[in-house]
């Protein structure tokens, strides 16, 4: 089912965002805050230095239950779900027969017969249709549970101490890309040590009608209002944080025209795990070598590269910018782009066509930003 074009979907936190002065915009069919009064720059920096709070309830959740859960999911995704243990999460992708990307997602394993797929907001319906259309004779039950869940991410070096005030779950024992079920402020929740900012942090899943309680409690626990307190962050900061961390955004770096290998996501292509949709193409592409590759670049001239702009080498267009933006923490204008592999080396000079003006840039290693390990 598709909502009428003009009727935007709302998360349970829509009112809370408006009360906080969030500037609401359309994103993937959802009415979401792009920033709050502190502004994108401050929200971004606070997440790097202290903590940021993000409403990501618009993301989709698909439950897979039954004895064939793992073989079924493993036939549709590129990473190896059979390698998961209970309480572990895995970054993966739904692939087309051409090895391109239907969506990137997280696969959570609760038990051998119970997985949860967390998918992008704008692709939830497409993913759901794709998944149920590929349900063969496996013994699984599938449920699009997106409306049942809220998802709140608290990210940054202070995330663990803030969230720990609200739960008895020993957070320091949860390893990266693992999760526990427990109660947060008395609310049954899934607490997952994952995120999309390049920082340590957690994503909390709970019943949608508990969203406002959790949101407000985390703001209180994080001293929202203090100069070093948690700040609610909008989609703009979420985007610049993930870009600095060199992470792909569906619809930008990856889509149904790009393969996982081109996007540096070979590490989630387990070509020896057995058959999955797109495996043959990915194997062939791996054997033959890719023709183009996703790279990061720093703009070395004055100017800001933006999504969709042409990349030129020696005056000839060779690719396009997938994401381009100022990087608030690195204080540098950065971006990612597809270029032919022969040019995809750090140090390679490129030019970006910024609205008719050619701006010099240089390919640099990804990620742009990596947090210091404690």
């Amino acid at each position: 089912m598709t909502a009428p074009a003009l009727e935007l979907k709302k998360t349970s936190l829509n009112e809370a965002h408006r009360k906080l002065g969030g500037r609401m915009v359309e994103f993937g069919g959802w009415d979401m805050p792009v920033q709050y009064p502190a502004g994108t720059m401050t929200e971004h920096l606070r997440t790097r230095t202290n903590a940021g709070l993000f409403d990501v309830s618009h993301m989709g959740e698909i439950e897979v239950r039954g004895p064939d859960s793992i073989p079924f999911v493993n036939r549709l995704v590129s990473n190896d779900a059979a390698k998961l243990i209970d309480g572990q999460a895995q970054y993966s992708a739904l692939t087309t027969p051409e090895g391109t990307v239907i969506d990137d997602l997280l696969v959570y394993r609760f038990a051998e017969d119970h997985l949860l797929l967390v998918v992008n907001a704008g692709t939830t319906e497409k993913d759901w249709d794709w998944i149920i259309s590929h349900h063969g004779d496996e013994n699984v039950e599938l449920r699009n549970a997106s409306a049942d869940y809220c998802q709140i991410a608290v990210q940054g070096p202070d995330a663990i101490s803030i969230l720990q005030k609200l739960t008895a779950v020993p957070l320091s024992e949860i390893k990266y890309y693992h999760f526990r079920e427990g109660s947060v402020d008395g609310v049954p929740a899934i607490v997952s040590r994952t995120g999309y900012t390049g920082e340590d942090g957690f994503e909390v899943y709970a019943a949608a009608d508990k969203a406002e309680q959790l949101w407000n409690k985390i703001l209180d626990a994080g001293d929202f209002g203090n100069d070093d307190g948690v700040l609610p962050c909008g989609l703009a900061a979420r985007n610049t944080l993930r870009l600095e961390a060199g992470m792909c955004l569906y619809g930008h770096e990856i889509d149904e025209t790009t393969t996982l290998l081109e996007a540096n996501l070979g590490w989630i292509c387990k070509l020896n795990k057995g058959a999955f949709i797109g495996r043959e193409l990915l194997q062939r592409q791996k054997d033959d070598g890719i023709k183009r590759k996703l790279v990061g670049f720093d703009v070395t001239d004055r100017g800001i590269a933006r999504d969709g702009q042409d990349v030129l080498i020696g005056g000839a267009p060779v690719g396009h910018v997938t994401s381009g933006s100022p990087a608030p923490f690195l204080k540098q204008n950065i971006g990612m782009a597809y270029v032919p592999v022969e040019f995809a080396n750090a140090g390679q000079a490129i030019e970006i066509d910024v609205r008719g003006r050619l701006v010099a840039a240089q390919i640099v290693p990804l990620p742009f930003y990596k947090r210091a390990k404690q």
Binding site: V34, G39, T40, H44, P326, N333
Partner: protein, 130 residues
Amino acid sequence: MANVPENLHYSKDHEWVRVEGDTAVIGITDHAQDQLGDVVYVELPKSGEEFAAHESFGSVESVKAVSEIFTPVSGNVSEVNGSLNDEPEKVNKDPYGEGWMIKIKMSNSGEVDSLLTPAEYEDFTKAESE
């Protein structure tokens, strides 16, 4: 509420004009900078360039967005605010003062009369946001 000083003229593209003799000082309004968010980059023309009214003379960029800036009056650029190269945040902090962008020697000062008064501009932004 956005600040709309009394002594200025306004355009529907959210620029302001302060008339000093035959020169127009031009910038973007408080409402415009607020809508944009943190300004991180301002691209301005060179002195001596000629622009017709409503023509784009540059752009202002926030983290998220690019907006073109249009001159409300015709003429020749007599001065640009080069300090915005290093301190684009002046556009947020002081849009009607240190955040000014260019000065234009007007070729037709009558064009100023067709711009919005402060009261008209306030009504315009209210109507736009509804």
